[in-house]
Symmetry: C3
């Protein structure tokens, strides 16, 4: 079977816009939880779906960002935000559909971001960085705006790692001069690993703790030493609200 | 009466810089509440007054942002920050003056941002987006830095909506080939609606809740399902601190 | 002794990359406190060490940001993040070494940022702003992502002020047409003042409070008036957790 570049581009575009719509729906659910108004729904939709690409293009510094020059993005986010504002999208079918949209969008955005970085003449490491940023940046911006530490930084199943993987595939196939195949393989690999990781609960490990007993003492010591210490007790309080009192064996 | 383009440009510039100074004063009041030092006062002044325009120009990607090439901006913010740092600006006259400055700056920034987007060749929807971002972005950045969910996203009287309105007026008059008149009308309409909304307490509705009883259950369910759930109890606690226990009829 | 431009450039580059590595180590300690995973370690390393320069270059709008075109930056941050992820860097030697790295990086980044701004044809005030932003922006972004008010805004010993000082030295020597000497003097002055301020506990004063009794009442009044009021009680709570009940004489 011959691989048609135009077909792959079309597939990526459909997934891209579907991902924007999907992120708008997730953003809308968060907006409802936080009791935001209609403008809040729209803002979360735009930032979740396009934030990563906007930051990528601002860092690339090559004219207006794609989210503004391609009118379809804002329109998609607006329509999806309007729908989720009026209708609560939920239920079993959504709980099954959303992870698939999320995983495909993750792979797609990593692929597109990596391609853009390579097209701008950047090396493989910046391309990995921009591919991953494109994929996870929007969700991270949304989390920060909603006043929480971005979930991609810890405590979730493999997510950013799948973007790195997809981006790496694109780079490798680019070296082999097979960019179109690379896009497709990157998308499929990134999305698949994301879905499998979610199903199996695969996570990245936290920072290595040399010894459990020492570690507990160190956490407290670090809390005292670092300027950021004021955060620690609050997080502990929150964790306790949700998980009950901290289990000493975890420290 | 003939409408002189230079006059309108001068009016916009005066309001623009007055708005920067006004945001510096508001930022200073927040800096005092948060017990920040002199550098904190200056930072909040610059980010509140120029943050929206800076992000707009970074997204447009057409050379250095206006806040840096036009020396008057930083100077205005610095002077205003120094004044509010030394003198507590307050009292009845300020409580009456500030909303007018705020509303005029909102309209002015939406007009200027929309003009810039149109001048860069963008369509009407990106122009609406950039006009609104210019008007409300600085305050949102300030809120995020002070560790709270931006107030423009919910719970306040019409604000971002007035920027959207002003931006829409500019776009409509641009289509009619009356850009100068459009700037003036956009400014007046945006500022007026903002002031009236504040006086009358007009707000955007929150996301639609299909049924009160179901909604309460859903909020909890969403809280469990979404990764962002840790925020919810904290917000409820805060709301209770300020408003007393939550009114079940509101859920 | 003749001052060789290439030597100064080399010195700055070594300090620049050492600073990126140092910030990665600090970011790693914070990542451990917040129980982030490996991706969180890398993200904090990149944002802490390069965030200021990235924002500077995005605001300058002159092509891809330096953190992406110069491959050494990302590589340094990655390696340092990997080391701190695996090994807990700590102990007396680190407590003595870190402040020196931190102070040198602060001075170096302020110098480099100011030079870039001047090279882009900006005036002295925007150059001061970009120099300072380069030096302190990364740490501020890291703080915001970790959900706390940036420590540079208040409550710490002189830090941003040292960047402003270093930046001012570069500008002054630029006027005297001695840019190479200016870089070196700016670096040394900025780093030295930062270290001395840390040792002596020099701080910037908080906003002036006209009268102690009035001020306490005002803080409450402001808390009621401003939309940002929800933050206040939480901060008070936090401060109490750390400092014991608030001392009324401090208000």
């Amino acid at each position: 079977m011959e691989l048609d570049e135009a077909t792959v581009t079309s597939i990526l575009r459909v997934i891209d816009l579907t991902g924007v719509a999907g992120m708008a729906v997730l953003g809308g659910a968060l907006a409802r939880t936080h009791r935001l108004d209609a403008f809040g729904f729209v803002t979360l939709a735009i930032l979740s779906g396009m934030g990563g690409g906007m930051i990528r293009d601002a860092l690339l510094g090559q004219g207006p960002v794609a989210a503004l020059t391609d009118g379809a993005y804002l329109l998609t986010a607006l329509i999806a935000a309007a729908v989720i504002y009026l209708v609560r999208i939920e239920g079993r079918w959504w709980d099954r559909t959303w992870p698939v949209i999320d995983a495909l969008a993750l792979g797609c955005w990593a692929v597109v971001g990596t391609q853009k970085a390579l097209a701008a003449g950047l090396g493989w490491l910046p391309a990995l960085f921009l591919g991953t940023l494109t994929a996870v940046g929007g969700g991270a911006v949304r989390d920060v705006i909603l006043n929480k530490v971005p979930s991609i930084l810890g405590g979730n199943t493999l997510y950013a790692s799948c973007a790195i993987l997809a981006s790496g595939v694109v780079i490798a196939f680019g070296v082999l001069d097979l960019p179109t195949l690379g896009s497709l393989v990157g998308l499929v690999v990134g999305a698949t690993v994301c879905l499998v990781a979610r199903a199996r609960g695969w996570r990245l490990p936290e920072g290595y703790e040399p010894s459990l007993t020492r570690a507990g003492a160190h956490t407290l010591e670090l809390g005292r030493r670092l300027r950021g210490s004021a955060r620690l007790p609050l997080r502990v309080v929150r964790r306790m609200e949700h998980d009950g009192p901290p289990d000493p064996s975890r420290h």
